[in-house]
Every structure is written in structure tokens, then in C-alpha cells.
Symmetry: C2
């Protein structure tokens, strides 16, 4: 496995189709319709195929959907409404619907508009956690466009110089389509790491790098337990703080969604905001010219000498797409804790449990 | 002075108008026309008012213009040509003209188009160093829009896992307009620091943080001298590498400019590429709603408790705009080395030298 899972005692491996089917069944049992169940299950499977289970973006998300649908914080089959519609922009009110579905529809509209006008920006308000940012950017690359997805999120980062959390990790997904190859795909939070990963380190008894998070009173630490209630640290110190702030202005302030510390605080009204940006890569050159230049560029980047010859230079997303292929062959790791949690909820919802 | 200049022996202080006048005279002596001299001098003064002289973005840039105009790498009064023009995009061939001028014109066009269509993307090829990224983003904010400027640059960063430089620091400027206040203004390279700042530390005999740059063979160091020929390190490790790569795809690969290691290598053909993105912040809400929400957001961010009570939380750009005010009152620091270098070139060009 290219990605180091750590203590193998903590995970089981399953076939993709079994997990996908289970996720869709589970979502339908929560009253998701066919389109919603398909989009969300596809997002969860993408995260499961790309990422570390400690990042909590795979089937772990079903716990949250279960809880939030119960609470009324997520409304299955929500009647989403397009509010404004300009030549290169549009705004979707997601009506408390599933974030994956709202962001997917928004990116589809951004793609359609950018195909006409070269670039398009689609906002979403009144949404929920949209899953992994790269999934939405990838939709644009599948259609031959450059995609860039932004979202605000629950406050876990402090402004630079403070330990009081008021901004989210506000992840970005950026995808650039390639000819005959998986896209360049950058999926990144604006923090050095995340609470899910810190929890995984803590459970494994490992120390973490000191630039991941502070203690609640603002001290550096390498002990994940000491900073579980402290702020995550931004990439590039004050720079990542600035990027997170800008992201919240775009996805929260500008769209009419909640912003800053209010996001995800009221479990009846999450009101998360997203922005989907799509760009036609052949706005300036022909498609063929763009594609050829991109391959020349990639070749130059990838032919640089690695510091450690065992680890050749990779493009953003390359490890994830390779891992995706391997996991499709050898199975997808799911933490045992997740499996047990899903079993009890599946019983409760009368969903067949194949794990 | 809010910004710590370090060893005061290294700088003199001058009045803004004297420096601005000198910069414009110097540029006219290099055959810049009135519009070009005005734009570039304004950019250099902005950098001088905002930044540390060690960052080399103030009058230090005149050495480079002098050299490059002589070499033919920069062509004063270049006949720039608009190549493509769509509803929300446009491409400028800068014809080897001054980068400040090309980027300024491109952002003006992005502003005009975004006012119509909500969002606009303008590319530039065949350009030069565009100065400080924040200057161009600020033009959009002055017009009431959100501005985001991107550029590629000389290779100084390696792909993550390599020490072989092939990507630039590829700085971004992002500006968000505010009602009755200076904009939020984020101006940042995608590296932790830059060679100019490392040189300053070296001259002052200081050590630098270990996450600034590697030695040429890929080892960490806190000695700026040991890494002057090594790669600068990206923000957020592989994340900043990804952002730099994406920036070069947008500003270099997509526009038809040079990209990767070729940028700034041939002194007859710099062919730098830029992208200017402008967004109408009131695409989704009224201007008044956007402005009020933004102020509420800012208040929440700024009211967080600082870790050290002496340093209250600041917005991106806040320190720079305060420093601008102070320097307008108390003078602008210019390194003595720069003053001496300018004196000899001014003599040569018959430019009056008031410093």
C-alpha cells in the first residue's frame, strides 16, 4: 500500500462494490433519493479509495449523516433553488440538503456556464459538509475543465497570533484535466493537518509534528492529546490564515451562508457555504496546444531528481489515483471502529450489513 | 516602525514624493512613456511603503529594469496586443513590455469584464516581472471588486521530495474591498520566504528558520548562506508545491507564456505569464449586504484573544497599510547599498539624484 496505514490491527479491507452498495443502501434508508444516494456514495468511495481512514472522509461520514438527518440539520430530497443567475455566475440555495449533492449540482452548473463564457463562479448557501473538496473539482476535470472548489467549515483554526478558533480548515480542491491520464488533483485543507489525523496518531500512541496544532492556551506541542481542543495551525503560518479568511469571505460572506465561528454550530441550521469555480483551459490556446504544453510541463516537473531515490517526484493527486487502483484490486481499509459503529446503525435502519 | 528593519546601519529614510519622482525620472530615462513610468513608480512605491527593503521589491527593482532594458529583455513602450476576447476572458500579449504595465492593463480589463459578467479571467503572456502581486489585486479592490493575481516566476522551488528547482515562488495577491477601510490584502509567495530576505538575514549574520530553504543537496539548514543556491521551501510542504504547480499551469501553460524552468532564463526572452481574476462581490447579494456581512466577519476575527497581548490579531494587509501611513509620515527605508547603486546609474543616465 503506498499510503502507510499504521497499525494494521485497526482496519479491515473490503471490496469497493460492497462498500458502495452499503453506503447507497444506508443513504436510501435515511430517505435520500436515488440521485442523492448515488452522488454521496460516489463521494464517500472516492475518499475511501484515495485517503487514509484516519482522515474520516470515507464511510465514517455515514454516522454524521445519520445523526444530522435525525436532527433535521440535513434534509433528504431538499428542494434546492437557484437564486441568481448571471452570464458567468449563479447561486444555489441548498435548502439544508446534502452538501455533496448541492456542491455537485453547483459544479455542474459552473461547468456549463464556463463552457460558454470561459470562466464561471457558482455559490452555494444553506448547505452542509460537502465531502472532499477534490471530488467536486474532479467533476470539472472529467468535463475537460479546470475546477476549483472552496468551502467554509467548522471553526478549527485561529487567526495568526491567536489560539481562539474562528475559521475553518476551509479545504480546496483543484483539478486540471490531462489528455489520456488522471488529472492533476490537489485536495488540501488550509491547515497542516486535521483533527481526524491527530486522533489517529493519538490512538496509535505516536507524536505529531509541532506545526500541526497548538494547545488551547497557544503553546506548541507534539502530543496530539494536548492539542485536541486547541487550534489547528495553518499552512505557511499567517499565509494559510489569510487563505482561510479569504475562503470564508468567498464561500460564506459572499454567498449569504453562515461564516466564521457560526458555521456548524446550530445543529438545526448548519448553513455551510461553498464556491465552485470552473475555467476552460482552452480559453486562450487550442485544446491540443494546451494539452501538449501541459504534458511538456509535467514531464519537466516529474523528471527532477528526488532527494531520496526511493521516492520519485509525484504530481498532486498521483499517489491518490495510484492508491485508488491498488485498493480497487486489493481492497479498501475501513477502521474496525467504523465497521462496528455502522453495524449497529444498519441494524437499527434495517439495512443489510455485508461487512 | 511596525516592521522590524533589523540593523539600522543598513538603511536611510526618505520622503515618498522624492522617491516616487526619482523612480519615474529614472524610468523615463529608460525610455518608458508617461503612463508606464507612472504605473511602475506607483508599484515600486507601494512595495516600499508596505514591505521590508530586504524583500527587494522597492527601488531595488530599478537595477533590474536598467539591465533588462539594455539587454532587450524589457521593451519600453512595447506594443501590447489583445489576442482573444470572450465574454469573461481575454488574453494580452505584452510584447516584452514592463510586467507592471501589462498586469495593470490586464487587471483593468478583468475589472471591466467582471462588472458585466460577475467574474472574469485575463491572461498575459510575453511579459516580465510584474512587481508585487498585491498591487494588482488592489486595483480590483479600488474598483469595488475582489481581485486575485497570479504569476509564474524564475524557478526557485523544487517539487516536494526534490531539491532541483523547476517552479517559481509564484506569488499571489488577493484583495477584498471594504466599506470605508483599506481592503483585506493578502500578498504572498507560495514559499515560506524568499532569497532577498535570506540575503538580508545573511548580511545581518542571523540564522533563519529551518523551513525556509534546503541546501542544494536537499538537507535542512538554518544558515542562509548554505541554502542560497538551494531550493526555497513551499508553504504547507507538498501543498505549496501543488499550489505553485497549479499557478504555473494557469499563468504559464494556459496563456502560451514560458513555464517551469524556462521562465526568466533567456535574457532576450523572459516571457513570463500572469493571470488576473476579478470577481464582483455583490454577484449574489446586494453591495450593502455584502459590506455589512464582511464587517461583521472582520469584527469576529479581530476580536479573538491574542496569545501575546502585545500583538492583537490583524487582517491580511493591515500591518502593511498601517506601515504605509507611518512611512508616509516618517520616511521610507532604503538600503544604503541600493542608494549607492542607484547613484551611479543615475549619473550614467543623467537623471537628477536627490537621495
Amino acid at each position: 500500500m503506498a499510503y502507510e496505514i499504521g497499525n494494521k490491527q485497526l482496519v479491515n479491507y473490503y471490496e469497493e462494490e460492497i462498500l458502495r452498495q452499503f453506503a447507497a443502501d444506508f443513504l436510501r434508508a435515511l430517505a435520500a433519493n436515488e440521485e442523492e444516494a448515488t452522488i454521496i456514495a460516489d463521494g464517500l468511495m472516492t475518499a475511501s479509495l484515495w485517503w487514509h481512514p484516519g482522515q474520516g472522509q470515507g464511510l465514517e461520514k455515514l454516522f454524521r449523516y445519520h445523526r444530522r438527518v435525525r436532527n433535521g440539520g440535513i434534509v433528504p430530497q431538499a428542494q434546492m433553488v437557484w437564486l441568481t443567475d448571471g452570464p458567468s455566475y449563479s447561486l444555489l440555495d441548498a435548502a439544508k440538503g446534502f452538501g455533496y449533492v448541492a456542491a455537485h449540482r453547483a459544479m455542474q452548473r459552473a461547468i456549463e456556464k464556463a463552457q460558454q463564457s470561459g470562466v464561471a463562479l457558482v455559490g452555494v448557501r444553506n448547505s452542509n459538509h460537502f465531502g472532499i473538496a477534490g471530488y467536486h473539482a474532479w467533476q470539472a476535470a472529467k468535463a475537460g475543465l479546470i475546477g476549483w472548489s472552496f468551502t467554509n467549515a467548522k471553526a478549527e483554526m485561529a487567526p495568526w497570533g491567536s489560539a481562539q478558533v474562528v475559521l475553518g480548515t476551509n479545504p480546496w480542491g483543484i483539478a486540471i484535466p490531462r489528455r489520456d491520464a488522471a488529472p492533476i488533483l490537489l485536495d488540501m485543507a488550509l491547515t497542516m493537518s486535521g483533527k481526524g489525523m491527530m486522533r489517529w496518531y493519538m490512538n496509535e500512541g505516536r507524536t505529531m509534528p509541532e506545526n500541526w496544532a497548538l494547545t488551547p492556551d497557544g503553546h506548541t506541542t507534539s502530543d496530539p492529546a494536548k492539542s485536541m481542543d486547541g487550534p489547528l495551525l495553518p499552512i505557511g503560518e499567517y499565509k494559510g490564515y489569510g487563505l482561510s479568511l479569504v475562503t470564508d469571505v468567498l464561500s460564506g460572506v459572499m454567498t449569504g451562508a453562515l461564516f466564521a465561528g457560526a458555521v456548524f454550530q446550530d445543529d438545526q441550521n448548519y448553513d455551510v457555504g461553498h464556491i465552485m469555480l470552473a475555467i476552460r483551459p482552452d480559453a486562450f490556446l487550442s485544446r491540443r496546444q494546451f494539452e501538449e504544453r501541459l504534458e511538456t510541463f509535467i514531464e519537466e516537473v516529474k523528471s527532477t531528481t528526488p532527494i531520496d531515490p526511493r521516492y520519485p517526484v509525484r504530481l498532486p493527486g498521483e499517489v491518490e489515483f495510484e492508491r485508488m487502483q491498488k485498493r480497487r484490486r486489493y481492497g479498501i481499509p475501513v477502521s474496525r471502529e467504523t465497521v462496528e459503529g455502522l453495524r449497529s446503525r444498519a441494524d437499527e435502519l434495517n439495512v443489510p450489513f455485508p461487512l
